[in-house]
């Protein structure tokens, strides 16, 4: 348990991606099975243990300490698991075993314990562990492990362990279960590739590169197909026998949020597509904006009413498997034909086919891209007609060509220091635009951005913050921002939603600082009305 809790302590506070990878790979290399497999599952969120209720933990701790002192402690720390891990006094009840339990034994005993035995087991474990071990255990047992490691990162750490391909690991991983002994055996070259028991697994998706200046110059438009790029979320549907699943682009199983779509998967195979809210082309419906889709995202369950108000459907892009047949090596056009067949036979209310966009030249496509026929389109996709379906982001076979991002000029209002490499720079900014207030024009915050600028520009911004702070609230610096004095930046963003949570009434998607406008005075910055005019029309 010690190695695992030490790993967690480090991961939680380490912002750098490479440092995280190193911590993970070193851990996987030095810790034996089954502990490392359970750790992998805990970090990636694939571990299933019976959850311990906070109420029981509270009762256990109050068996051994004064309630008032516990309350003071909890108020100060603010996190139940951390408070208990710190205040737990195992001197009162010295552990019988001297050696610390391993992660594997902790998980196996939790899984094996009946309802009535759990209380005693949790008490014994809290006694046997040190504060950091108690914290790790409590986070595991309450199902609240958050360490800032994506599945992709965990997979890459595994790949580094034995020079295996990350995509291959990812594909296998989704079909195996903790503690993943066969996976580690294969990665480390001790065994053959594991056979998958469950066929309804996630296959890593093919991604596109953005079109950059000059990218298309040497490419022949007749070698490419174009499709609209729809503004929903990219998903993968798969069905094998009675088992159907919906995965997010990163392989997260999101089936539980979309029972309406899940139940409609009657075909066997694996389809790549865009999940949208609204109605399909085939039912003469229209896709609705991303903010509507958000009503369905990140929910454990979904009510019948929500499903009725925000019906989900899938606009299909590609076909990876037709039944058992692996279509991925086949060229795009062939896959597309097979997909047409599959979608044609599927529920017309839940599935339609992403239409192709006809074009003869890049200029023509550029015009189409800039003025798409539907507000839920955010650009076009280019797919080489003869390209196979390859996991990852290769340059050449697929491109995405977005509508130009939206731009506004805004004034910096607050700044905070960054993390890691940037911890000595003020690099996190809140910016605002002008609006009519009770005492004339005032700045209203419309977003936060912490990238988009170059290292050189960051130095300029940092210097401005240090020399123009007018107030501080904890780590936040309030910057000088009047009509005459202040710093104007150009902010680029991908979209705009209505928001009740923000004072301005708008929320930006993916904002970044695209240019420093030292040539502009704050008075020249944009107004909230300009921003509001960019909002998608209300239904």
């Amino acid at each position: 348990m010690k190695a695992f809790s030490t790993l967690l302590d480090r991961l939680v506070l380490t912002p750098g991606r490479n440092a995280k990878l190193k911590l993970l790979t070193d851990y996987f290399r030095t810790v034996p099975d089954p502990d490392r497999g359970y750790a992998l599952a805990a970090i990636a969120g694939t571990l299933d243990v019976p959850h311990v209720k906070p109420k029981m933990l509270r009762e256990l701790v109050l068996e051994r300490m004064d309630e008032v002192l516990f309350r003071y402690s909890y108020d100060y720390v603010g996190d139940l698991a951390e408070t208990i891990s710190l205040v737990w006094d195992n001197e009162q009840d010295p552990p019988e075993r001297l050696s610390e339990p391993s992660l594997g034994s902790v998980i196996e005993s939790l899984n094996g314990a009946g309802r009535t035995a759990v209380r005693g087991l949790v008490r014994d474990l809290l006694n046997a562990l040190d504060p950091s071990g108690r914290y790790a255990f409590l986070k595991l047992a309450t199902g609240a492990m958050r360490v800032g490691v994506s599945k992709r990162l965990a997979v890459q750490a595994l790949a580094a362990l034995g020079e295996r391909d990350a995509n291959e690991i990812e594909a296998l991983w989704h079909g195996l279960s903790p503690p993943y002994r066969s996976l580690f055996d294969w990665i480390e070259g001790r065994a053959d590739r594991p056979e998958l028991k469950s066929p309804a697994i996630f296959h890593p998706v093919m991604l596109a590169n953005p079109v950059e200046e000059g990218d298309l110059d040497d490419l022949d438009p007749s070698h490419y197909a174009a499709e609209w790029k729809w503004d929903g979320i990219r998903i993968q549907l798969t069905r094998k026998g009675s088992l159907a699943r919906i995965f997010s682009r990163s392989g997260e199983d999101i089936s539980a949020s979309f029972p309406d779509v899940l139940d409609a998967i009657t075909f066997e195979g694996t389809v790549d597509g865009e999940l949208l809210v609204g109605g399909t082309f085939r039912s003469n419906g229209a896709a609705r904006p991303f903010s509507d889709l958000q009503q369905r995202l990140n929910r454990k369950g979904v009510t019948a009413r929500t499903m009725e108000e925000f019906p989900a459907f899938v606009r299909a892009y590609d076909l990876l498997f037709a039944g058992n047949e692996d279509m991925r090596p086949a060229p795009f056009l062939e896959r597309r034909q097979a997909l047409q067949h599959v979608i044609g036979a599927a529920d017309p209310l839940r599935f339609d086919l992403s239409p192709l966009v006809g074009f003869n030249s890049w200029d023509e496509l550029d015009r189409l891209r800039s003025a798409p026929p539907d507000p839920v389109i955010e650009g076009v996709m280019l797919k080489k007609l003869d390209s196979a379906y390859q996991a990852g982001r290769m340059k050449g076979p697929w491109f995405k060509w977005k509508r130009d991002p939206h731009n506004i000029d805004a004034v910096l209002i607050y700044a905070q220091r960054g993390h890691g490499k940037r911890s000595s720079f003020y690099s996190d900014f809140t910016f605002g635009v002008w609006t009519e207030g009770p005492e004339g024009d005032q700045l209203v915050p419309v977003g936060k951005a912490y990238f988009g600028f170059t290292d050189e520009e960051l130095k300029v911004l940092d210097r401005f913050v240090r020399n123009n702070t007018v107030d501080r609230f904890g780590p936040v610096r309030v910057l000088k921002a009047t009509k005459e004095e202040g710093f104007v930046v150009e902010v680029a963003f991908e979209g705009l939603n209505r928001s009740n949570r923000h004072k301005s009434g708008v929320a930006m998607r993916f904002p970044r600082i695209s240019r420093l406008r030292t040539d502009k005075r704050p008075a020249d910055a944009d107004r909230l009305e300009t921003l509001k005019a960019m909002l998608p029309r209300a239904e």
Partner: protein
Amino acid sequence: MSSKMNTDNLLFPTPEGLYCPIGDFHIDPVRPVQRALITHGHSDHARAGHGAVLASRETLEIMRIRMGEGFCRTEQVAMPGETIDIAGVRVSFHPAGHVLGSCQIRVEHAGTRIVASGDYKRSLDPTCAAFEPVACDVFITEATFGLPVFRHPDPLGEIRKLLASLAQFPDRTHFVGAYALGKAQRVIALLRQAGYDKPVYMHGALVRLCEFYQAEGIDLGELRVAVEEEKADFRGAVVVGPPSAFSGVWMRRFADPLPAFASGWMMVRQRARQRGVELPLVISDHCDWPELTATIRDIMPGEVWVTHGREEALVRWCELQGIAARPLHLVGYEDEGDA
């Protein structure tokens, strides 16, 4: 056992600090006064501009280093355990184990004894004399870490975390934030104790205090200044500096710095996160909760007065033990910078 009346007349809080009207002196005053008794050299306890200052020899030296000659009009050395008479009040200084030269101050008049402990700790520290329990009627204790969540681990174990990280990330400069007086020297001494024998780099703000510690016979090994102009290769080096250097431009010269911070506050993850610390080292020069409660049990004073920190929890604990206790509201003491 003294009556509450007596103890309150002997020593009570004023805006300047703890005041003894009979002897006409203040203990650790936060504003300039005629006569000051100083427990230790941290800047929130030892300030410039007093008339007469009575403190341990080391504390006086530290004050001179930090504030320059003329930090007060007259100074007097208090020898450990020696009784000094100030207008009929008997005063003596006893080691507090906080930093080099730190003392508790015992004040006695008409059979009533009050011990003002200043800041103190009980865990082993090779850079200063260990805390001595002193019998008294009233024990004035700090409560910087006065909550049951604070159970500081073995400091040598924390230093081993630093060494493990150096082995794992040999290309990153390990920057250890540590308060300039006491903590910085303790971190370096612990590194030496753990067998680290490479040069340790220090921020300029640490130089004179480290030199003083070494002159006092505390072995800190080879120290080098992390000079501004020099484009030295700090990869894999340990650099010790004051916590304020974290956010300053000074940090930028180091390649891919890994920020560590040696402080009792690092016990709580959110504290580490707020400060952008990647490697928290729980090394404290204050008592943790078990030390605070054990000390009160050791001394068994008639009454406990609790000052700077989380007074209410320690007062509550005393109540549960049947020990009279109350919070003593003193202003002007930092509860963070030097912990």
